[in-house]
Symmetry: D3
Subunit: 296 residues, 6 copies
């Protein structure tokens, strides 16, 4: 579950973006005392993620709106499933609808795609993890969605773990320095709680990287054969992560090579928003239409 202060910050910003000075339509057409009931309905199967975020959209627009969750984050659902029920002032429900949907649709889209990858590697020991290829501003929500889909998270940001990629290795070994020595010296400069992950492009780099003390070795764009060879060569001395060329078609075979971790950028950079709808039933609170006063 994402921190409630983080959720409120993201949803408030989204509401400010979508209704910077109110909802002209509701204020013009909907009586102030009209109430409504609405249901969050699945128009395609998927995995729920972000029900708290969805609820926050309504609560932040009007604290009188009550959102009752009928499913929990991580729950799979079928077409037609009713995932939540919303009740309260009609104006606020209509104002918050789009922001609530936009967020829960994206998160559930990520969760559903993640679940397909996770299912594809079931039975192997491999875990499916996300990358930093997330939507700017929504990383915490998308990381939660990956977890809700059964995946795991990779490092959260540039600040909390080290990943030495080809560019970094090129610098480390500039001037002919020995890679293992260079990594050991780098390790000496790191905080003792920092994880050192090193990306390799070729099998012949493994010995140096192991000698340098990598905690995780990422095998980038390796063939299945090379992945297998790599796993055997590393032999448990580091976590093995496969990356590159991962799709729903290839992930099972990659998992079968014995890697520990498979990182999949597509989980967040290319997930489609899931089709969830809000079916609203409005019941005017009084016989009177909107008061004849002016609207903003």
């Amino acid at each position: 579950m994402t921190d409630h202060r983080e959720i409120d910050r993201i949803v408030t910003a989204a509401l400010d973006e979508d209704a910077p000075w109110g909802d002209l339509t509701s204020e013009t057409l909907i009586p102030e005392d009209a109430t409504a009931t609405a249901e969050l309905v699945a128009r395609e199967p998927g995995v729920l993620s972000g029900i708290d975020v969805f609820a926050a959209a309504f609560r932040l627009v009007d604290p009188r709106i009550v959102v009752e969750a009928l499913a929990a984050d991580g729950d799979p659902f079928d077409v037609g499933a009713v995932l939540a029920r919303v009740h309260g002032p009609a104006r606020g429900i209509l104002t918050a609808e789009r922001v609530g949907l936009n967020l829960v649709q994206r998160m559930s889209g990520v969760a559903a795609l993640t679940a397909r990858y996770v299912a594809a590697v079931a039975g192997s020991g491999a875990r499916i993890v996300d990358t930093r290829k997330t939507t700017p501003g929504l990383r915490s929500l998308e990381r939660q969605a990956v977890r809700d889909g059964g995946g795991r998270n990779h490092r959260r940001s540039l600040s909390d773990a080290i990943m030495a990629k080809d560019n970094h290795l090129a610098v480390l070994t500039a001037g002919g320095r020995d890679l293992a020595t260079a990594l050991r010296e780098a390790r000496e400069r790191m905080p003792h709680t920092a994880h050192l992950e090193v990306e390799v492009d070729r099998l012949d780099q493994l010995d140096a990287v192991l000698a340098g003390g990598a905690d995780t070795i990422m095998l980038d764009n390796f063939s299945l054969d090379d992945l297998r060879t790599g796993v055997q060569g590393i032999a448990g001395r580091a976590v093995v992560e496969a990356s590159g060329g991962v799709s729903l078609d290839t992930v099972a075979a990659i998992a079968a090579t014995g890697v520990d971790v498979i990182s999949v950028g597509a989980l967040t950079h290319s997930a489609r928003a899931l089709d969830l709808g809000l079916d609203v039933v409005i019941s005017a609170g009084s016989d009177a239409p909107v008061a004849p006063g002016a609207a903003p």
Copy 2:
């Protein structure tokens, strides 16, 4: 082009998210005086959008980094095209890389998808427009991406135009009130500069909506035949917008019915990030490796 203050706000937030207390890897492995040159390269064809946003990521990390745009927003490109060149301190380039790419990839993905819809309706009078189904926090960028792809924008938010949908109409006509009268009364309450768009589900609603003074009538989920009938019935008295069931397969036929506007949620809610890469060539500024001091 998006306002520079808005760009800086979004990119700063994205950098804070991705490097909340610095880039542990660069600071551990890359000498402070190393410089680099990098190229933004297309790994698939598409349409460029967000080159200013991409550049801002590097500038905001380190003002000494220079980004030279080799293509302009809206330019189509092929695989292998070099879209920009980045030069400056290596640490900053590596730190900003992911945020810059995440944004330009998403925007170019939206622009490329939009361009396909726009091409599909070429020759018709229909314009392709976006919806409010945008990524929370990134609406201004995604709207620009739609324009860069040759599309147009719909209303920006709940605050700047009125869209009366089925729920609103139900309330307006509660208690048997006449729809045309109700709309005319609503119009009286609106600012004179506000646009009144009304969504209809059935052809038999058209007369009342026209009599009520709608500026735009949205025909929601209409068959091609009904769209044609609707266009003829409206006969230029309002803008006609088609919505629902729009895909690359169907959009040309929809445009051929004579509608003025086709709104496509998929432009933003389901566009895939385009595959753009940053190829970095680092040249260490000195022979010396990273100073043996501690890293954060």
Copy 3:
């Protein structure tokens, strides 16, 4: 009614401005357990606006303070009217007093002035609208005040409608381009939900502007005769807005020319704060004076 998040933002900023590190006087002189009752009293007649904003000042300083509204926004009142009653901890009431008054006085001043303009055109079909000449930072409140006074709002900002003024027309027709053609081309570039208002200085511009498809035509600084001629010439093909030289002395005659809209900058740029006072009755919660501890 203004959005509650917007109200809280404005009032919080005002409190931070007026009491950046507390209320030295209250903390020095008023016992912590003293309570008070206070009444918002009209010292001159007017129209109430901003009662929610007034109440927010007290609630945000101390949630235990209760504000009971005795009149509603839009209500006219006479000298001596009691508009609200405030009850709770005396310190908080005295701390919030000035901010609450400053806001409700300004808003009610705008509402009262607006009401005088609206009354002056009663019986005509003209609506009185505001302009963008509002107090920076308070536009949403001042627009509400205009509505509370019986007026209507014009566009809210540069972002939500188009107003082509003389400067813009000069550019559009630079190089001898035809105005009607230029406007039609501009219309093609606009979102379909955007309203196109064009300002004209002379009657001979009307044909081109009508041919260009203006939704609203603003007749700027026209004589009464020319306004009448303009209204007849436009003949319902566009909304007609009069602007310039509008005062309480002239507005009735302007309305009588048949224009639809009269925009009045004075509503917000020159309204006087209304004289409302807060009469406080403090009842110390205990016999004891302020504890002899130090004050900040």
Copy 4:
């Protein structure tokens, strides 16, 4: 001069309010390369205040715009005076115009009104000071405007000086406590750098207030005779401030009573925005009209 960070904060907020997602008109109608020159012209006489604030509006919209001040804050001017010249990209000038004007008009309105009060008391020893009845959010600018008009500032906020008014005195003396003793005890609780101002309604309170050690005594709503008596009674032992019933008609007589300070709420709560205009001369940068691409 107001702090530049404060100016930038206020102007940025005002621009965000007035152009939340760009200037639809400029972007639709003005070519990107058009440049313009504009002059800030006085349409009525007054006193300039806020020329830096005016300039900031243009600089923050587009740093390429140059604003040349032709008069300084505090300078009086006549009708027709050219107070500043603005040059640069036409779009930015037109976008910033309203915000720049709104602020400089208000500030100059305050300065001009202040100057009239100051002139009315010329020759007396009295200083004209403002109150906390300022526009929420703009206090720092309005206080500067008062100084630019030749006035002085009172305390800035509830946090930086003590003003004991009738409500506070009532509490201090609840239960029959002696006022002089109560004030001396309060003084003991105050920081030694805090100023103690006490408001009195009757002459017979003066002895106790003086004995209590007030730094300033405010004579609230006193007749001219009573003011004179008060000044003589206080005899230099405290600063004497007159308040209440101050207008341009009465202020000279009040000053003649010998008071040191006259506080005038009207300086800020009821000053009219001064009529300043921006005369724009646009020169298109090229023959080409706006590119046929879409506008936001």
Copy 5:
């Protein structure tokens, strides 16, 4: 007591700093339904300050956590004293623990040190005051801590009182101007509610400073003899403040010279955090360990 909005701002920022995307340990190891009781215990004697701030840390992490204060700000305590009891969800208690402790430890450290200075001067008329040598961002809390320790506050910031130090005096008298005249002229430019404090380094400056109208005279780094001479010379015509060379060893003698105020930078710039601990007793809410789902 510090303003609740200020407390919430500081504590929220501290929580964001300490748990930017949640508490990885609690979320991995502590069941969501586990509850806990914890006690804030003194591990050394001291003076309590910041109990509201401590409580806010828990409330802002999880509103269900209840903090019961067992002592009040300003209360002295011995080793082993239980100062507060915390009860609620275990995860939130463990997440907020460090932030709550960091703040209350620092504030109580300041209060305890202040109390020692105050005790050292007991019986003299001197008050112990703080300086602007506070921790950036925490000034309001540290000023409260000084008050809780029995001290008083000096001016709060550069904005709310004038302190003319040697550098300022050098400028004022540049070109041979007379100091008394210069100060009187400066006084004329100041708001009448501003306090004028002047720092002197030598006894021979006193006459000019008194003639210039200083409200407080700071005797900087004076010997005890010179302090005594200064106090006698000033003879009640200004507040006398001693500064420089103040320690627990010297403060009593300084107070005995008859000065009114002794300012002590060490109160805030060098106070040690007091050793307070949170003893937690967790009681798992269920038999079940953490659910086997993934952690962030």
Copy 6:
């Protein structure tokens, strides 16, 4: 080096705190065109930290002020050393002085204390690390100061590494669960890049914690003998961290036991601000004193 955006944020907040509406003294007493040169001088020996932060205070107050660093972060210095030279407008230098000093004094105090601990363990393999007992709001600066003093950082926050303390272990083993199993299961839930540190109070916990896969084992409050036994028992299978009871008197002996890491809360929670001064030489830019206009 700390990120420049982070530095600017912290320093801007500090300036806003210390000069919320300008520097009353400078504006009253210092001519606008006076310039000054000032030197940052060490009044006691130490280690420099935060020279960029110091410089930012002046730059953010007035960009015309130039700060020339004469020493670098991490440099040790003696009494009297000139560490930086500041030149520019006198008003801005005097306004920024306190904020600049407050920050560099605290950071250098932390660096100097850290350097003493580091020196005390020289020759051993132990690294001195900080804890989360930092000043709220200043963690990034204090962590830099620790590095500048030759120390290393521990985890940065609750979000970026796991530390299972006694409370967590109690829950993990509630109901008699086996600790090793519980830790292995927890490890399975963690991101693969997260570091697992476990705190133990007794030697008999070591086997289970090692079997559970801890990356670091913290020996809390162990005797020297037990530390030695612990190091031998762990035998390189995990990083060994000593904590508790660490002082300058004991740290060398602790290091001699062979532990890898010694965490010292005192580095940040109890470091004294170092005595650095700013010696200002003002040279008035003109003969004229401050203009006789009013000050704020």
